[in-house]
Point group: C2
Chain length 351, copies 2
């Protein structure tokens, strides 16, 4: 059997985008669906064409016109790896409107516009997949939607932001204070020049909103996820920005470590109430699996009936690791598996 | 939308079978696929009808004629939870021959007759799913086939047998010798009256063969998986049957613990050689994730390019946990997702 190749438009050529491009260019046979079709790069939209070419991306594929690439007649699938709000939101929406399946790693756009994008995807019966938006290359959204589909999920929790985990690990290991560690993390490339999205917890909030969509069937409002603790480590300031060496020491003397834990659970005795979600610096036992999840590792735990507690762990960021999830989603679309939420009911409003 | 219910024949009513029956009887709405169809128990084949009725299974559903239940005109899907070789093998083959999808937790039948059953399933285009055969309720086969489909997998390894892990954990914690712990484990229900299949490593071998099918695309011969170490803990005897208190002590003094590790990897420098697989008592660092996987927990690690190392952990046995995987497979079949290997090429002979 043989079919026309599925032509993939790649939007964004950062670390993840370059890893995806490399895979599509260098090992197409390994990524080919078994029906005889294949995945083929249609183009790569970048901000700076000359720089992308100098970095080794094929000159004939790069463009600085992402909207044209999405609209091109020979673009079959769109991979959005630009990140952030606009133009990503509009490009994803345009692709779905045109019936072109979308793969994205963009947790911001999903957390803030997920309900709208899901509505478009359902209306146009166009797949939208986003395994890469949570936990980098760790499979977790697919298992929630498929292997765990027979469960009633009561809670999801985990360490989903590598930057803050690196900073807290370094504060714990070195005894350094927050400001010193952030500066070192920026120098080492583990924190961005403007680290606010990570350290104030919004990146973890966005990922938690995506996890909750799969776990609980609703899109939570990111603004409804608490990031400022009333007491405990870092109280009164968002994310880990208020965590002090004294907080770390106090946790240690109680056998604990401070971790930024994202969690969402059904409230109420019978677990049938509203979803309660927060992203807070939390003392966990140093000997627990979450306590031992150090550096840039991620770990996501799912509590459900009848399965009990299952956990997914691995590298939560990085171009290569995250490209695994993007490639898996591309293959899933080629296989006709539909959206990440395929088989689940449409999302309800948050409750 | 509404469709005729999919009628499920349950073969076997042990701990997993009863948990599956309970779910289908008590929460059909939660398990219903979103296309308007539903899953409905068509019958439950048991060895002792009177005992099953006394145990609370619906009198009208139990039968001691599994072959008739499989063949019945109103059976749409077969769930095989009898375990062991025959009659399970013949019942699964008969269902597939008749075009009735099969869900099974039977690692023995898959490891020993997987190639034959895959051939029948492919010839008749009938789904065969078996997530429950490895790791109880932990999602791992599905993620290998789907979320990790863009990777080249270099190794899978893990702790996949709860009985031996419980015994080794108890020997480590209590300092008791092997025989004492086995007797206690039998009394506590953690080891069977005849524990040979667990303690000699064959249960783990069977699970490793199933894992390798998804990871490497071939059915290994169970007999080709080494279970007797030439040296190290328990050397010269199969599985954990040769592990002594002295082995445990020697491991401890080196900062290690003895675990029964199942592993399969591609040999050769470029990872392109034959698959090498073994199930051996192995000293691992006590502080490692595998070293800390105690009691009846399972942990499976997957090494792959580009993702790196991802891990799946949770309860590897038990009726409720394992029923999660069976229910997930039933829902997957109802959703039209096909076999556990759907989207992967047909298995090759072992190499």
């Amino acid at each position: 059997m043989s079919a026309a190749p599925l032509r993939v438009a790649l939007l964004g050529a950062g670390t993840v985008g370059r890893a995806v491009a490399r895979a599509l260019l260098e090992r197409p046979a390994e990524l080919a669906p078994t029906d005889g079709s294949s995945l083929e790069l249609a183009g790569i939209a970048v901000r700076d064409v000359e720089r992308a070419r100098a970095a080794g991306l094929p000159a004939g594929l790069v463009t600085d016109a992402p909207a044209h690439l999405v609209a091109a007649a020979d673009t079959d699938i769109v991979v959005e790896l630009i990140g952030g709000d606009e133009p990503a939101r509009t490009l994803i929406a345009a692709a779905l409107q045109a019936g072109k399946p979308v793969v994205t790693a963009n947790k911001h756009v999903l957390a803030h516009h997920g309900a709208e994008l899901e509505a478009i995807a359902r209306r146009t019966a166009t797949p939208l997949r986003f395994e890469a938006s949570v936990g980098g290359g760790i499979p977790v959204l697919g298992p929630l939607a498929t292997e765990l589909a027979g469960n009633r999920i009561s809670a999801v929790r985990g360490i989903v932001n590598g930057t803050t985990n690196y900073i807290l690990s370094a504060m714990t290991d070195d005894g350094s204070d927050y400001g010193t560690v952030v500066t070192a993390a920026q120098a080492a490339g583990y924190a961005e020049a403007d680290p606010a999205g990570d350290v104030e917890g919004q990146d973890a909030v966005n990922k938690l909103v995506v996890l909750a969509r799969l776990a609980f069937g609703c899109w939570l409002a990111p603004g409804a996820v608490a990031t400022i603790a009333a007491d405990g480590p870092g109280a009164g300031r968002p994310g880990i920005t208020g965590v002090t060496s004294a907080d770390i020491d106090a946790a240690r003397s109680a056998g604990g470590v401070v971790k930024l834990i994202a969690r969402a659970r059904r409230a109420g005795d019978a677990g049938s109430g509203p979803i309660v979600a927060d992203v807070l610096p939390t003392v966990v036992p140093a000997s627990s699996e979450l306590g031992r999840t150090g550096g840039v590792l991620n770990r996501i735990e799912v509590e459900a009936v009848p399965v009990g507690t299952v956990a997914f762990s691995g590298p939560g960021a990085g171009g290569d690791a995250t490209s695994s999830a993007v490639l898996g989603d591309l293959i899933a679309i080629a296989r006709g598996l539909g959206s990440t939420w395929a088989g689940l009911p449409p999302a309800t409003a948050a409750r």
